[in-house]
Symmetry: C2
Subunit: 335 residues, 2 copies
């Protein structure tokens, strides 16, 4: 039997919460590489919150998906056929291959993974996009100083977990916010944050005030909505906010209204929204530094691996509702 390329496509724009019925799983021929191209067989696919807003029919100039489009996403895999000398068969590469078992790459659309630096799956998070996101947003935009208070939302997530560990390396007092006692324990005990608050606790606002007696100098914001509003009430003069995600709102029919804008003004806060794809030149240095920290045991991580591409929609939905624990990956083929 000839091997097929299995793909997950968006069947329709979701209404509110994504469901498995919003996806189609189809089989097509494995692509044939043209000149300068190579075929990758995917080992791991990364599932990330940014994919959700791309599924909405938003304004025309925002990148978004149409029904029938392949779901986008970063993946890591092995070159299995090549017409490009710089991408020899057997190399491990990562790129935006999408939710499929086989994809085409060129030297400009992938990077070769240093398999000595760590497990290849780490190229999809701590040694890849989410690591670079954490490094850039915290150190280039928010710029915490030693002794300042840094708050990180979605602290157990792929980005937040790295942000907090870097903040600790830089000598900041680091407060995580996460959903549920198990995640909070992990953030405190395994990742080494100074504190982690459960935003589902009935007295969350009181806990937040108690944990930030000197107020909040840096907020690394991944979730938005009422948690963002809560932290604004504790923001310090001249605070910096790195606005990285808004995951609490991606499935909302009606967006939550942020009522704390006045705190931004009164405290002369700067807020920087960013997407790491705009800063490709920044990745190699950031990934090299995080790789060093990983080897020194200063940056730790956890993976949550769903088995098989057919489980990707379910794992994606669970990730959006916070049921994953660690960086959400899909094992597409055994490596």
């Amino acid at each position: 039997m000839v091997e097929q390329n299995v793909q997950v496509r968006m069947r329709r724009h979701p209404e509110g919460m994504v469901t498995e019925d919003d996806f189609d799983i189809v089989s097509v021929d494995v692509p044939v590489p043209g000149p300068g191209e190579a075929v990758v067989k995917t080992h791991y696919l990364s599932l990330d919150p940014y994919m959700r807003p791309m599924m909405d029919p938003l304004r025309s100039y925002v990148p978004h998906l149409n029904p029938g489009d392949l779901m986008p996403g970063a993946a890591v895999g092995e070159i299995v056929e090549s017409n490009e000398p710089s991408l020899p068969v057997g190399s491990i590469v990562t790129g935006m291959l999408g939710w499929q078992t086989h994809g085409i790459v060129t030297p400009g659309t992938c990077r070769i993974v240093d398999t000595e630096a760590g497990p290849t799956s780490a190229a999809l998070h701590v040694l890849g996009m989410t690591g670079a996101t954490a490094h850039y947003g915290l150190l280039e935009l928010a710029k915490p100083r030693a002794g300042e208070t840094v708050v990180v939302t979605a602290a157990s997530g792929a980005v937040g977990s790295v942000v907090g560990q870097i903040a600790k390396i830089r000598g900041a007092r680091t407060i995580g916010i996460a959903g549920g006692p198990e995640k909070c324990r992990y953030v405190r005990e395994e990742l080494g944050f100074d504190e982690c608050l459960d935003h589902r606790a009935p007295d969350f606002l009181e806990q937040l005030a108690a944990a930030t007696p000197d107020y909040v100098d840096v907020l690394f914001e991944n979730v938005g909505g009422p948690i963002f509003d809560a932290v604004l009430t504790r923001i310090n003069d001249h605070a910096r906010i790195a606005l990285c995600g808004n995951v609490s709102q991606y499935n909302a029919d009606e967006p939550y209204g942020i009522t704390g804008m006045r705190y931004l003004l009164v405290h002369r806060v700067s807020m920087f929204a960013f997407v790491i794809a705009d800063h490709r030149e920044y990745w190699p240095g950031a990934i090299a530094e995080i790789g060093q920290w990983v080897r020194e045991g200063k940056v730790r991580y956890r993976e949550d691996i769903a088995p098989g591409l057919h489980n990707a929609p379910k794992a994606f939905i669970e990730m959006l509702t916070g049921r994953n624990f660690g960086k959400q990956l899909v094992e597409v083929a055994a490596s």
Copy 2:
């Protein structure tokens, strides 16, 4: 009869909209200058939106007023008695003298006004704090480039009118937003903005979309609330927002919830809240440059002068509801 110092004090914290009953008018002795001090007799008092949030009983470390406190504010006047050689009798000075007919200054709490640069009242706006605010927020934070689209809210106000005129000098396409057709006509025809939209018009959102075909690169935000939310729907990639005021919300019992946070993220917007009092070193250069533009006819302004200190509460309330036209001043004594 011995001259008295008439003062306007906050009688109580306002609940919602400020009323005249929230103020007391009292007479006390004219202050006696100590060593190094001088007495100023006020000619003009400036009324500004920032005074309103100071009247709220907010968090303890935000500067705010207690019942019985003198209302704060910038004023310009003449030295009438002096124990300080650098502040001779007859000099015109400006400083934070508050809502009163007489105040004490030292060399560190006032600046001598160059009476050749323009009318002395201009030291309270275009050649003073509001001019410096416009210059700093636009040119140091938002940094418009020629050909970009700049939106200015409260465009006919003391800050907004200067912002838009500087944006035009820098070659930006400049769209004002103001309340009512008379203000919009003034902004277009007298201040030279490319367009001015009336946010009270029933089709304001459609007008805004039509006026920003290339989206919004810079927003100079003075009002907040639903107008801010409306502009967010038109924000461009990598836009910059100077967050200067939130006047629509200063009297609100329940703050408006901003629903457009997702636009900040999708378009990687940077937002800078600021208060010009943090940047005293910036004032002289900014005021000198604006003075040059005023003399060249490139920056124009309008004043709305209430007669007599006893009218200050009423004029303040009218300013907060947008009924003033031009920079709101109070003529405290004939100059």
